[in-house]
């Protein structure tokens, strides 16, 4: 049986609210949490596979050129070495999210420093690593393009990403208050805790890969395409993924090289990227140069918005960081000019890193809004509230829901914003200057096609999908949807994920995983309820399911009795429809931060931070909160410390380890507060839930940077706000 729901109309029934089990939205622990913290959850590289050998990638040491010769023989003769491979199918860079086909391949032409050129296979990991380090690759270097702002570079302007409405120049000229500034954000790395890793094994023509991937439906096709084999011959298993943040959206070097190597040596092969290789070969967030122009009338109402972004990418890649994505709809202004430009560089491939677009675009727009608020003498919260549009300012579409004003008000109250002194350098604690800052949060909301099979049997419920859990709580939230709909205690629900043999889901990315796959589970459960109602001779709406029993009118029947003749299994399918086009869908929120800036050294410490979020129905208050805590922590890193530092002459990422790529550590992260606004968005999904994984980062860094200005009067327009950028102004 298949239950197919196409989201062509809003679903205002709020059916989950009418159920009786009482688990939806509850702050339940992740079902697999204990396995993970006790080391029992088996990650890609840890599977005990018989006859396993190990592979290590060899990197390019130049940024552009060609491979002229690889001296394989001396390395092939080394202890334990099984093969030295420079197969044409090795990837240049990982696939972009949802690519569904192989990315650029071929290890002869070098496009960036660190590009994998060969793979060495040996009996042990240590032998493979040593041998890889000895492999001499002769290259012929060509001039590399490394500076995104070099004047000679051609700027591409992709169609459909530019907006020109009214006359911005005229608005700027006539404005009572205006801002025209250039801001910069650096490259970032996803830096997941689990490095990208795979174990590949062949059985005849059939390939099984245990991998660390976010989007299995696409990854299977990408891997098959890269290898030149049929997708039906590929199975990918990824039951646990130790973080991805976008860097595992598309198939990457590990899975492809391990598969090629396993074929070549006729044995299973394990390949894990070293931490350095994660930095050099997996997706980076492009650096950006952003010019923002804001024109406002005397009351602070925006009359013009200009946002021109310049980002970089390797030659031949379609993706580019969609910096201005939220600028299109966040604030009203009649005159608008939004520009998106791309330059081609010889740096590590740019791709999705948590909240591509909004993470840096909102951060810069919200920094500029703070500058405008100060110039106009209007409270930053009030300035934003004055500019919330009635409808999408570029398409005149209605918003599916719009909770920005509520989030701003709620946040200001919870954070005691009124205590902020708008005059910089007016609050002090010993050597430390104290400041408060805020910013709006917004992230586009997306629904994706998803399938899941739900089976209700006398023993409980089983959910199956190729959806992944990348540390987000997918196992638990899907179980909560089914438990609520089918009246089951949580322990009776089993969720099986991360296997391409299971029904295809959209994977984890774009914050759409829980709402999309949750909707597929919901659709299946609704049909199962109809079957049960039929068995009981009642209408489905009158059926109450709770604690494994069905209740209708004055009858209470154990479900096991109704299922005596066999389980009920339904394939639920959710398909995006007209609601994705007819309305503008976004999640909203607000960030508030208090920082201390040391007056001697310009060191910055975040003292407290609050995020208020509206993301539709919250499926699990604990896992949702954790997502937001993670996003805000990313925001602290983006504001203060995180930056890919490239050697200006070679393009090499010089800080390619956790000692020098400064992610926030515990001591950098103060008590973070997360508050959710009660919301049901009927346009978003049949479960009224929206995306949440990326909202917590989308604008977060600006609240911290704005607080720095309030503390010490120094405006940093070049992220991150490291102490050297503040020191000169103190």
């Amino acid at each position: 049986m298949t239950a197919h729901v196409k989201m062509d109309a809003p679903d205002r029934r709020n059916r989950l609210d009418a159920m009786a089990q009482g688990v939806i939205g509850e702050p339940l622990d992740r079902s697999e949490g204990a396995l993970k913290v006790s080391g029992k959850a088996v990650y890609a590289h840890e599977w005990p596979v018989e006859g396993l050998c190990h592979a290590v990638l060899v990197r390019a040491a130049i940024s552009r050129g060609t491979v002229t010769r690889i001296d394989k023989a001396p390395v092939e003769a080394m202890d334990g070495v099984l093969a030295v491979i420079d197969d044409d199918r090795l990837l240049r860079n990982p696939a972009q999210g949802t690519a569904n086909k192989a990315p650029v391949q071929g290890p002869r032409k070098i496009f960036y420093i660190g590009q994998p050129l060969a793979v060495v296979v040996a009996e042990s990991f240590e032998q493979a690593r040593h041998a890889a380090q000895q492999l001499v690759v002769e290259t012929e270097a060509a001039d590399a393009v490394l500076d995104p702002e070099a004047e000679t570079l051609e700027h591409e302007r992709p169609k459909g990403k530019q907006t020109s409405q009214g006359d911005l120049d005229q608005a700027m000229g006539a404005a009572a208050f205006s801002i025209d500034e250039v801001y910069r954000t650096p490259g970032h790395s996803s830096a997941p805790m689990e490095p990208h890793a795979a174990i590949a094994s062949w059985d005849g023509d059939r390939l099984t890969v245990r991998a660390s991937c976010q989007m299995l439906k696409y990854n299977r096709n990408e891997l098959a395409d890269a290898l030149g084999i049929k997708p039906e011959n590929v199975r990918i298993l990824a039951p646990y993924v130790g973080g991805g943040f976008g860097s595992k959206l598309g198939i990457a070097h590990d899975a492809v090289a391990a598969s090629i190597a396993a074929r070549a040596v006729g044995r299973p092969v394990a390949l894990a990227l070293s931490r350095r290789q994660v930095f050099e070969t997996t997706m980076r967030r492009s650096e950006s140069r952003q010019r923002v122009r804001l024109a406002a009338d005397a009351e602070g109402r925006l009359t013009g918005i200009g946002h021109a972004a310049l980002v970089s990418q390797l030659p031949g890649e379609k993706f580019s960081e969609p910096v201005t994505q939220a600028t299109h709809f966040l604030y009203a202004a009649k005159n608008r000019e939004i520009v998106h430009e791309i330059v081609r560089l010889n740096l590590t491939c740019a791709g999705s890193v948590r909240a591509p677009g909004e993470a840096i675009g909102m951060t810069v727009l919200e920094t500029a809004m703070d500058e405008l608020a100060i110039k106009a003498g209007i409270d930053p919260v009030e300035l934003r509230k004055r500019n919330i549009p009635e409808t999408d300012p570029e398409g005149d579409k209605p918003f599916s829901s719009h909770m920005l004003a509520s989030a701003l008000d709620r946040g200001a109250k919870l954070f005691d914003w009124q205590r902020r002194n708008p005059v910089p350098r007016s609050t002090r604690d010993g050597e430390w200057l104290i400041g408060l800052g805020m910013s709006s949060a917004a992230r586009v909301n997306m629904l994706a096609e998803a399938e899941a099979i739900v089976t209700l049997s006398a023993g409980g419920v089983r959910i199956e999908s190729d959806m992944t859990d990348i540390g987000t709580g997918t196992y638990t939230v899907l179980a909560q949807v089914a438990a609520e709909m089918l009246g089951q205690p949580m322990q009776s629900v089993t969720t099986v994920l991360g296997d391409t043999d299971l029904p295809p889901g959209p994977g984890s990315g774009g914050s759409w995983g829980a709402s999309s796959t949750g909707s597929a589970v919901f659709a299946a459960c609704e049909d199962i309820r109809k079957c049960l109602a039929e068995k009981l001779g009642c209408v489905e709406e009158e059926l109450t399911l709770k604690d494994g029993h069905a209740v209708t009118a004055n009858r209470r029947v154990p479900l096991a009795e109704l299922l005596a003749d066999g389980p009920i299994s339904v394939r639920g399918v959710i398909e995006p429809g007209k609601t994705s086009k007819e309305v503008r869908q976004s999640t909203f929120g607000a960030f508030f931060a208090e920082v201390a800036v040391n007056e001697v050294t310009a060191e910055v410490r975040v003292r407290r931070m609050l995020g208020v979020f509206a993301a539709g129905r919250i499926l699990n208050a604990k896992t949702a909160r954790s997502q937001c805590l993670g996003g805000m922590t990313f925001g602290i890193g983006m504001a203060l410390t995180e930056e890919l530092i490239h050697d200006p002459r070679t393009g090499a990422i010089v800080n390619r380890d956790f000692a020098e790529y400064h992610l926030p550590v515990n001591a950098d992260v103060p008590q973070l507060e997360v508050d959710f606004l009660e919301e049901r968005d009927p346009w978003a999904s049949p479960i009224q839930a929206k995306g949440i994984g990326e909202l917590g980062i989308s604008g977060a860094a600006a609240s911290i940077n704005n607080a720095i200005f309030n503390a010490c009067g120094v405006r940093v327009r070049d992220y991150p706000a490291t102490l050297d950028k503040i020191l000169a102004g103190l």
Partner: protein, 328 residues
């Protein structure tokens, strides 16, 4: 990582003898060496494991002072009651470095000998005079946020990353060394490290086979001790600049002042000449500024680290201010 021999000597004579041969290296905590070996930045052919030698004790000396065995871990040293009472800046410096797990393994001798964190020293595909003498310095003209403003040369601008050594430098520590001949010699820490000049690969006065057996701290003086570390994040980051101060103020004038600085030079930096300016003077902002200017007289930025000059100046002044105020 290259294949290597591994030996575990049972006594000092055997240890120094085993380590004398070219390509040998001692290993204690291994928190730095093993990383460097995996990257083939260092490729010793023989590791001499000294962990079972009897060097893990901290002993009070009869004449006052403390002898810290080379194998005393950073965690144990930071927690030692005598250190916390008599040399609190050492305890603070230790706790400002690395992470809890690393400090549990890292040893006193190893900490002194940890290698620079220069990006290019860690990149075997880039020239580095420290790694491959004569190959050139990639840091000059490159990314230089971490690099030295004092004591560097045209051949190397790397900094020494230790916090512990900076504190010890301000405490006038001595390094106790066992030679292959079985002689124990003591070298003041201020003479222990060599400036890079045109031989940046030679970092200390140690000869082949020489083993650090301990660090001796002189008897504590009555003074205010401060360790101030400035870094890019609140924990687990090397110092951009750090300042260790041991300052005594008596009757309104500075009796003695010892200051050492980290993150700015190839070794824990101390300027004895400048310290003479402080002794016998009344504490004042003007005095501190003059001292800072003297320390920074020869300072030279490389572009990416230019900010360290004003940063160290401000840190010196604030540290002296705090030390003299607390000492009154």
């Amino acid at each position: 990582m290259r294949p290597f021999d591994y030996v575990r000597p049972s006594g000092l004579p055997e240890a120094t003898r085993q380590a004398r041969a070219e390509g040998s290296a001692f290993i204690a905590g291994g928190t730095n060496l093993l990383d460097l070996m995996k990257l083939e930045v260092m490729a010793p052919t023989r590791l001499v494991d000294i962990n079972r030698l009897d060097l893990a004790e901290c002993a009070s000396l009869p004449i006052g002072g403390l002898r810290i065995g080379a194998l005393v871990t950073n965690s144990d040293l930071a927690a030692d009651e005598r250190v916390r009472r008599d040399y609190p800046l050492l305890s603070r410096a230790l706790l400002a470095g690395a992470s809890g797990q690393l400090r549990n393994k890292a040893t006193t001798g190893g900490n002194l000998l940890q290698r620079t964190r220069c990006y290019y020293f860690y990149d075997t595909s880039a020239p580095c005079n420290k790694r491959e003498p004569g190959s050139g310095c990639s840091a000059i003209g490159g990314a230089t946020r971490l690099h030295a403003i004092l004591g560097a040369s045209d051949h190397c601008i790397a900094t020494h990353p230790s916090d512990m050594a900076v504190a010890m430098q301000a405490l006038d520590a001595g390094v106790e060394i066992e030679t292959v001949e079985g002689i124990t010699r003591s070298v003041p820490l201020s003479d222990f490290y060599r400036l890079p000049g045109d031989t940046p690969h030679i970092e200390t006065v140690l000869e082949p086979g020489d083993l650090i057996t301990g660090v001796v701290l002189p008897a504590p003086v009555k003074a205010t001790q401060i360790y101030r570390k400035v870094r890019d994040r609140a924990s687990y980051a090397f110092a951009l600049v750090s300042a260790a101060a041991v300052v005594a103020v008596e009757n309104g004038t500075i009796g003695s002042a010892a200051l050492a600085f980290g993150g700015v030079a190839p070794r824990p930096w101390r300027n004895h000449h400048a310290e003479l300016m402080l002794a016998g003077e009344r504490p004042s902002e003007k005095l501190f500024e003059a001292f800072a200017d003297e320390v920074l007289g020869e300072a030279r930025g490389q572009g990416g680290n230019d900010f360290k000059i004003p940063l160290l100046r401000r840190t010196i002044i604030a540290t002296l201010k705090q030390a003299t105020e607390e000492s009154q």
